[in-house]
Amino acid sequence: MTTASNAPLDLKRHFSLMRARELAIRCGLLGCALASVLTTTGIIYVLVTEALVAVPPEKAFFQEVSPVEFFTATQWTPQFEDKHFGILPLLVGTFLVAGIAAVIGLPIGLAGSVYLSEYASRRTRNIVLPILEILAGIPTVVYGFFALVFVTPYVLRPIFQGLFGFEVNVFNAASAGIVVAIMIIPIVTSLSEDALRSVPQALREAAYALGATKYQVSSRVVVPAALSGILASFLLAISRAVGETMAVAIAAGQSPALTLNPFQSIETMTGFIVNVSFGDKPHGSLDWKALFAVAMTLFVITLAMNVISQMIMRRFREVYQ
């Protein structure tokens, strides 16, 4: 705003009143913007005071259970008499589901993005992109239903139990992993496609001029050039898979087991959080605090993935703009 120091006196008073209003509005808007900062602060405060360091009369989770035990013990039995708080089974369960989702979802998502950016006509794009939007908009509880009612009995059981003789549990990590893969495909496709399309046209033309075919241009020029953007989308998708809750809570089961068998019932970090919330644990009990310790682990893992993904993306933008 320009200063009105030379203005006549009456005008000046008038102006300052208006300026006060402007300032008040500005402060109000600043308050709105700070609401999001407050949310982050709130999340960190709640997690830290319940899990790491509590306000003195109370004790936080890690002041009662040693972090060494938490991260190395192999049993997770907070609901039994003999309580063990070893998060490894939950971590392994989480990354088993996320790993299955990544193995299926990332290649399909990437191949789809290559098709959309290098091969597809404008018309195809206009059909496919809205479909991906719809897929991304389906609530995760619906995917959980899909995993339990269709994927396990009609896909996994006939193939892996009927043909190969594995024993497929009603609740299993594989069905959860498959539906989480379906969930992350739209993320990978749309973000990787952005990265592929922002590769300069001149690079493609140079490769064609050297006699490269379309496959060679796509696989040896465009994809490597967009690699950091693709990696960022992969990280974001995996972080989504790690934080995914409802489909996993419904389809993967509720038995924390330290196993890599995808056909067994397991429990993930998010699944544990949901199941504990049902039991109405009293505020301040150790089980209640275990919830926050698990949530904090989850928060730190997803946050780290997101931050790395954003750093990669920022660097990628700098290269081509």
Binding site: C32, S36, Y115, V128, L132, F145, T213, L236, E244, I273
Partner: protein
């Protein structure tokens, strides 16, 4: 190429073989990529067909107008529909002013500087926080209020001119707690969408307004905002659609899975006129929501409840489709009305 100077028969043959193989690679690669692209459509069709097959015959009028029941044939989604309605309405009322205000601040006022960078980094990180973590925040802050009133819950009586509202402290497992949690969840989405809408408005409009002597806020209020409204509305609708399907945070703050009552006792649109006080009671009532009911029914061991869950999923998807159609209509109208 290995065929350099000789030009013998063998080299020519080699080239031809290579090109034949590469033609296969070409076609195969394109085919694989195309299949991956259409995989999404195939999944969507299978999913919809499966849900329809399981649930279509269970989707009756009485399913929409009755409460949950221990008998699958009599179970319905009335409580969930009204619960979701109150949650989403309140969350929208709370999130839109704050979200649009934040977007205006970032796009019109604080266009550079460390404060903007801080808020931007914060927003992009919030977008990646799993929704269940928001649920934990909501449970600790709104439902239990850090355990402050754990031993002596209070009831705050706020008297309006013609009636009083009883506000329980802590809020407990009420619609209000759920709505505030959802507000925090959709706030980043509303802010990002509103910022995009504001950014799409050419600077010349603002300059013209300043040139006519308008102040900063007058320019925002009377020039920028009216033009940005369609874009903001589209973004808000999509954010709200996300809130409709959210399950995990509501489970965390303790939405009841079995409720045979709508918030505020309002069971049909007519009840709002007949029982206006119910509107004030609804935010402080216990609740369930449509996705919570689906989760509950899917988890039941009786196979009949799978059909009930499928029917409820059809209702949920129909509600979401209404939101999507409204959003795309406003978007296309907005494109038609753009005049610069």
């Amino acid at each position: 190429m290995s065929a350099a100077s000789g030009g013998t028969m063998r080299d020519l043959l080699h080239v031809r073989q290579r090109s034949a193989r590469s033609r296969w690679t070409e076609a195969g690669f394109e085919w694989v990529c195309a299949c991956s692209t259409w995989f999404g459509l195939a999944v969507l069709i299978v999913l919809l067909a499966g849900v329809l097959w399981q649930g279509a015959s269970w989707l009756t009028w009485s399913f929409l107008t009755s409460y949950d029941s221990r008998h699958p044939e009599q179970a319905g989604v009335l409580a969930g529909l009204w619960g979701s309605f109150w949650l989403v309405s309140l969350a929208t009322i709370l999130a839109v002013p704050v979200g649009v205000g934040a977007a205006i601040f970032l796009e019109e006022y604080q266009t550079k500087g460390w404060l903007r960078t801080l808020i931007e980094i914060n927003l992009s990180n919030l977008a990646g926080v799993p929704s269940i973590v928001y649920g934990i925040l909501g449970m600790a802050v709104f439902v239990k209020m850090f355990g402050t009133f754990q031993h002596d819950p209070k009831v705050l009586q706020i008297s309006l001119i013609f009636t009083t509202v009883d506000v329980p402290l802590p809020f407990g497992r009420t619609v209000l707690s759920g709505a505030m949690t959802l507000t925090l969840l959709i706030l980043p989405i509303v802010i990002v969408a509103s910022r995009e809408a504001l950014r799409a408005i050419p600077a010349s409009l603002r300059h013209a307004s300043y040139a006519l002597g308008a102040t900063h806020w007058q320019t925002v209020r009377h020039v920028v905002l009216p033009v940005a409204v369609p874009g903001i509305v589209t973004g808000v609708i999509l954010a709200v659609a996300r809130a409709v399907g959210e399950t995990a945070p509501l489970l965390m703050i303790g939405a009841a899975v079995f409720v045979a009552r709508s918030p505020g006792g309002i069971e049909s649109p007519g009840d709002i006129l007949r029982n206006p006080h119910g509107i004030l009671e609804a935010p402080f009532d216990n609740f369930t929501a449509l996705p919570i009911q689906i989760y509950n029914w899917v988890s039941r061991p009786e196979p009949e409840y799978r059909h009930v869950a499928a029917a409820a999923i059809l209702v949920l998807l129909a509600v979401l489709q209404v939101f999507n159609i409204v959003a795309s209509v406003t978007r296309s109208r907005m494109r038609r009305q753009a005049r610069w």
